[in-house]
């Protein structure tokens, strides 16, 4: 007697699940018909893979190092302007990536003061790996902040108070109590950030169409050769992402 209503709900949800699962399954089914190893060993593919594997971890690291302390402060403290800070963190999440890329360009573009200065110092901020990292960090960082904040929020503050009374300062308490106890949430946030960074496309297209990362290379190959041309690289990108996600779950 609980079944009939559940069935209605399950049927509706099932449509969504099928819509998520079917493309995945069909796409994987295609792998037999294309020469994956050959395509991936081409120079262009190898460069794209190298670029993505260089940039996404750096962007993830930057987002984590800057984002986890911010998450902790947001979980524990109240201060004037906190709501503004919270809105700011959601901003890159709701701003369309191409708009985000355009916004970043208006700061680090070749003809802006910052962009020009960096370029003349030999570190161009656009159309460079640094540019890719800038784009990925902007788009992906909110994930680790939001998830880590929820993780810290779930740690009973009294466990930290007990640590303080047992003689540990705030930083030592953070390191020995808060961080280990929120670690699952933080790791989940880091994984989401990495997945978002390595898959970043819209902002990267604006800031660093060159050098190609895996998503931009996929786009270029798609224009040139259609869906069959991109299966190997898309599979590789999917595999990297899923392996990282699975490794830490």
């Amino acid at each position: 007697r609980r079944l009939p209503p559940l069935l209605v709900f399950g049927a509706l949800g099932g449509i969504l699940l099928v819509y998520f699962a079917l493309p995945f399954a069909v796409f994987l089914g295609r792998t037999g018909s294309v020469p994956i190893a050959e395509t991936l060993s081409e120079t262009a593919s190898r460069t794209a893979i190298r670029n993505s594997l260089l940039t996404a971890p750096v962007a993830t690291a930057i987002a984590t190092i800057l984002g986890v302390p911010l998450a902790y402060v947001l979980a524990r403290e109240t201060f004037p302007g906190k709501r503004l800070v919270e809105a700011l963190i959601v901003l890159p999440l709701v701003v369309p990536p191409v708009v985000g890329g355009a916004m970043l360009l208006s700061v680090v573009g070749r003809f802006t003061p910052i962009g020009a200065a960096a370029a003349s110092a030999g570190v161009p901020l656009t159309d460079s790996l640094v540019g890719v990292i800038l784009a990925q960090t902007f788009v992906a960082a909110p994930f680790v902040v939001i998830t880590a904040r929820a993780g810290f929020g779930a740690v009973d503050e009294r466990l930290e108070q007990a640590s303080r009374s047992l003689g540990y300062g705030p930083i030592a308490t953070f390191r020995r109590v808060s961080l280990p106890l929120a670690s699952r949430a933080i790791v989940a946030g880091v994984v989401l950030t990495f997945a978002r960074a390595i898959g970043e496309f819209g902002a990267t297209m604006m800031i660093a169409y060159n050098p190609r990362t895996m998503p931009t290379r996929i786009w270029v190959d798609f224009i040139a050769g259609g869906i069959d041309a991109i299966v190997p690289l898309a599979l590789a990108l999917l595999a990297i992402t899923l392996v990282v996600v699975a490794a830490v779950q």
């Binding site: 009973d156 009294r158 466990l159 108070q161 007990a162 640590s163 303080r164 009374s165 047992l166 003689g167 540990y168 300062g169 705030p170 030592a172 020995r176 109590v177 280990p180 106890l181």
Partner: protein, 385 residues
């Protein structure tokens, strides 16, 4: 003085949580801080531990002002209502945690962990995970962890509130034993009057952020300084009394007239009836006796009634006057059998209701009864309007 709070006041926004709280604990003393939920108990604990900086006032530990010091510099042990054991450490690591922040050698730390786990009788659980402990064990490990760094003051913030009755009573005794053995100055915060009375050398009663009474448990219980303490510290019947005459003081309570001479107001010498427009009289359910009104047709049932509560007179503080009583007529509303006693609820003819504790059965709903109280068991609070 090991711990002194000096005119502590705290506000959360515009709400006043603590109002001018002054309190001092002697070395080795066990003081219970008692009050209903929301009375500011936790704010006091937080101010002593250093997690809340009071709006005004001073906290001193061993004569040093620590009001501005961070928690880690205060040497205060703390046990909260809910477990704060670290789930990512073993029981032994939890107890060692507070020792490693100091400069003890590994051997000394290990030895100290053993000693304190033995103190709480859990030496064999040293390698267990905190998640594997029962509720009572986890409380005891927390106690060991808080005590291991040998704090100046131990703060127990409702340590028993989450436990079942039986376990609660056992742990209460355990806490007293450990406190006596170690001699650590302890502030025991609770909302349960039985916990407070049974463990404490001294009780401080807090209400709406202010101290409304302080003193030895038995004295507060028998001579409550105000109505709040009378009804909060144990069960109490509240009756309102009209003042009929002031010299000699004569009141009507529960439909009966009562003349008070000087001696009977000795508990409240500062509150003479003279200024009062009426009075509130408190009397404990266990200080009331009940007697069926003898009906002409039924003479057999109350033969042993006089011996029903023979120790009522023993509670008299004025032994020379032990037989002076007040009698009130009423009808039994209902009788509740709670096992170790019966609570008889009597609707008095004066339209007030009193509860009488009885050790045995024998009255029934709708019986006409006489409720008797020794005058010396009444606590009178004159009210001037």
């Amino acid at each position: 003085m090991t711990l002194e709070l000096d005119e502590l006041t705290h506000r959360y926004g515009s709400e006043r949580a603590l109002d001018d709280v002054t309190l001092a604990l002697d070395d080795g003393e066990l003081v219970a801080l008692l009050g209903p939920s929301g009375c500011g108990k936790t704010t006091i604990v937080q101010a002593i531990a250093g997690h809340v900086e009071p709006t005004a006032g001073r906290v001193s530990l061993r004569g040093t002002d620590v009001t501005g010091a961070p928690p880690e510099d205060r040497n205060v042990g703390i046990v909260f209502q809910r477990s704060t054991l670290y789930p990512h450490m073993t029981v032994g690591e939890n107890v060692a945690y507070g020792l490693k922040s100091g400069d003890l050698t590994a051997d000394l730390v290990s030895e100290r962990v053993d000693r304190y786990l033995e103190l709480v009788e859990l030496a064999d659980r040293r390698d267990a995970s905190p998640t594997a402990l029962s509720g009572g064990e986890s409380r005891r490990v927390e106690l060991a962890r808080a005590l291991a760094p040998e704090p100046d003051v131990l703060l127990l913030d409702e340590p028993l509130s989450a436990l079942d009755t039986g376990l609660r009573t056992r742990l209460r005794d355990e806490i007293v034993r450990i406190q006596q053995q170690i001699g650590v100055t302890t502030l025991f915060v609770t909302h349960d009057q039985e916990d407070a009375m049974s463990v404490a050398d001294r009780i401080v009663v807090l209400r709406e952020g202010a101290i409304v009474a302080a003193g030895e448990p038995r004295i507060l219980y028998e001579s409550p300084p105000n109505c709040f303490v009378a009804s909060f510290l144990g069960r109490s019947n509240e009756l309102s009394a009209t003042i009929d005459d002031r010299d000699p003081s004569t009141m009507t309570v529960g439909g009966s007239e009562l003349t008070l001479d000087e001696a009977e107001l000795v508990d409240n010498p500062s509150n003479p009836l003279a200024d009062a427009s009426y009075a509130i009289v408190h009397v404990r359910p266990s200080d009331l006796t009940i007697r069926p009104v003898r009906r002409p047709t039924d003479t057999s049932s109350d033969a042993d009634t006089p011996s029903d509560r023979p120790d009522a007179s023993i509670d008299l503080r004025l032994s020379g006057d032990r037989l002076k009583t007040i009698e009130m007529q009423g009808t039994v509303a209902h009788v509740r059998d709670v096992g170790h006693r019966y609570d008889v609820c009597v609707g008095l003819d004066s339209r007030e209701t009193v509860t009488v504790e009885r050790n045995r059965d024998g009255v029934n709903e709708a019986d006409r009864v006489t409720v008797t109280a020794a005058v010396s068991d009444l606590t009178v609070f004159p009210v001037s309007e």
